[in-house]
Symmetry: C2
Subunit: 212 residues, 2 copies
DNA sequence: AAGACGATCAAACGATCGTTTGAATGGTAG
DNA sequence: CTACCATTCAAACGATCGTTTGATCGTCTT
C-alpha cells in the first residue's frame, strides 16, 4: 500500500503491457496469461493488484483518461480566453490531446486504439464509466461549440458533433498503423492528421451556416 | 452439399444468430456454444457447415457484403449516368446502402455493427479479406470523387475520404442503439442519419476548394 | 533477533473454450 | 427393401480461461 518502492515496477509493467495487448487483441481476446508472461510477472499479480480482469481494464482507462481530459479542458480554457476564438481553436482543443497521447510513450499509441476500440464495441458498462467520470468535459465542449455556431439548432449541433466524434475515433484507431509512410516522421504524421481533421470537421460543422 | 432443402434452416439460423452475438460481444467474446444454443442447433453444426469459427465469421461477412457492394456499385453507376451528377449523389451511393442494410431484417442492424467493429478492431486477417474481395469497389469510388473534386490533390483526397470512412463507420456502429428517440421511426431516423452524414462530409470534402 | 506485513510465487481450482468423434437419423436412389 | 449419404446428435477431447490458495521471500518495525 505504500506505493513508493516495491510495487511500482509490477503494477506499472502490467498496465503498460495490458494496454498494448488489449489494443491488439481486444479485451476478451487478450488473456491474463499473455499479459503477465509478457510483463514478466506472476499470473496472480493481476488479481492481487487490480482485483480482477475487469479491474485491470478499468485502471488502464483511468490512468490515461485523467490526463487526456485534463489537457482537453486546459486547451479549451486557453482557446476561450483568446480574444478572437475560432471554431478551429475549439476543435484543436478537442482533437489534439487525443492524438498527442500517442507520442509520449509506446503505450500511448496503444491506448488510443484501446479507447477507440472501447467506443466501437459499445460496451455498456464501459460507456457508463466514461459518462460518469468524463461526461462534464464533453458538456463544456458542447457549450463552446454552441456559442461559436449560433445559427445551428441544438439538435443539429448534436448530430454534427456525433460525426466529429466518429471521425476522431476512427482516426485514433488508425493512428500508428500501417498507413503511415516510412519517410514521414511520426510527429509530422500526427500533426498532419490533426490539421486534416480540423479542416474537414470545421467545414462540416459550418455547412449551411452563413460561415461563423 | 445439395444446398437445396435440409441444410437451409440450420445454416441460416446459425448465420443469423452469429451475426447478432458477434455484434453484441465481439468475435472472441461470443462463443460457439452461445451461438448454437441460441439458434437451437447442435454445437457441432458450426464446424460441420463452416469448418471452424473463423469460417463462420468469414461467411457472416460474405453473405452481407456481396449484397452491400452490389448496391453500392449500382447506385454509383446510376449517379454517374445522371447528366448533372453532384458530390452528394456519389456520397449517397456510398453511404446509403451501408445504413440501409439495417432495415431488411433484425440481423441487418446487427451486421452493420459487426462490420464497424471489424473495422475498429483492425484485424489484419479481416482487412486482407475485405481488401481482396471488395477493394475494387472503393477504387471506383475514389475515381468518381476525384472527378468531382478536380481541385483536390490525390493525397489530399485520400486523407479526406479516410475521414468520411471513419464517420460512416462510427455512424454504422451507433446505428440501432439507444440514441434513437422512441417517437421517431427507425426508417426516418435512418434517413436523417444519411442526410446529416452527406451534408457534413460533402462540406468537409469541399473545404478549401472553390466549391465543386 | 523476532515478528508483522506487503509482495511474489508455483500450483491448482472449476469453468468454458473450439474442435473432434462415432453413432443415430431420415430422406432418396437403385 | 436395401444401401447410401447428408445431416444431426450426445459426449468427450485437450487446451486455455479467470480466479484462488497457501507457501515463501524480502523489508521494515519493535
Amino acid at each position: 500500500m505504500t506505493a513508493s518502492t516495491s510495487n511500482f515496477s509490477t503494477r506499472e509493467r502490467i498496465l503498460g503491457v495490458a494496454e498494448v495487448l488489449f489494443a491488439r487483441h481486444g479485451f476478451a481476446g487478450a488473456s491474463l496469461r499473455q499479459v503477465t508472461s509478457a510483463a514478466k510477472v506472476n499470473l496472480a499479480a493481476v488479481n492481487y493488484h487490480f482485483g480482477s480482469k475487469d479491474g485491470l481494464i478499468e485502471e488502464v482507462f483511468r490512468r490515461r483518461l485523467d490526463e487526456l481530459n485534463r489537457q482537453r479542458l486546459a486547451s479549451l480554457a486557453a482557446a476561450l480566453a483568446r480574444p478572437a476564438c475560432t471554431l478551429e481553436d475549439v476543435l484543436d482543443a478537442f482533437i489534439r490531446p487525443a492524438l498527442e497521447q500517442s507520442m509520449d510513450s509506446a503505450g500511448g499509441a496503444a491506448f488510443v486504439r484501446v479507447l477507440a476500440r472501447a467506443y466501437a464495441e459499445h460496451d455498456e458498462r464501459l460507456r457508463r464509466f466514461l459518462a460518469d467520470n468524463y461526461g462534464h468535459v464533453l458538456r463544456e465542449f458542447v457549450i463552446a461549440f454552441a456559442r461559436l455556431l449560433p445559427g445551428l439548432a441544438r439538435e443539429e449541433l448534436h448530430w454534427r458533433l456525433d460525426i466529429v466524434a466518429g471521425a476522431l475515433t476512427y482516426a485514433m484507431a488508425d493512428f500508428g498503423m500501417i498507413k503511415r509512410r516510412q519517410e514521414v516522421s511520426e510527429h509530422s504524421h500526427r500533426d498532419m492528421t490533426i490539421r486534416h481533421l480540423i479542416q474537414f470537421t470545421a467545414a462540416g460543422l459550418r455547412a449551411g451556416c452563413a460561415h461563423a
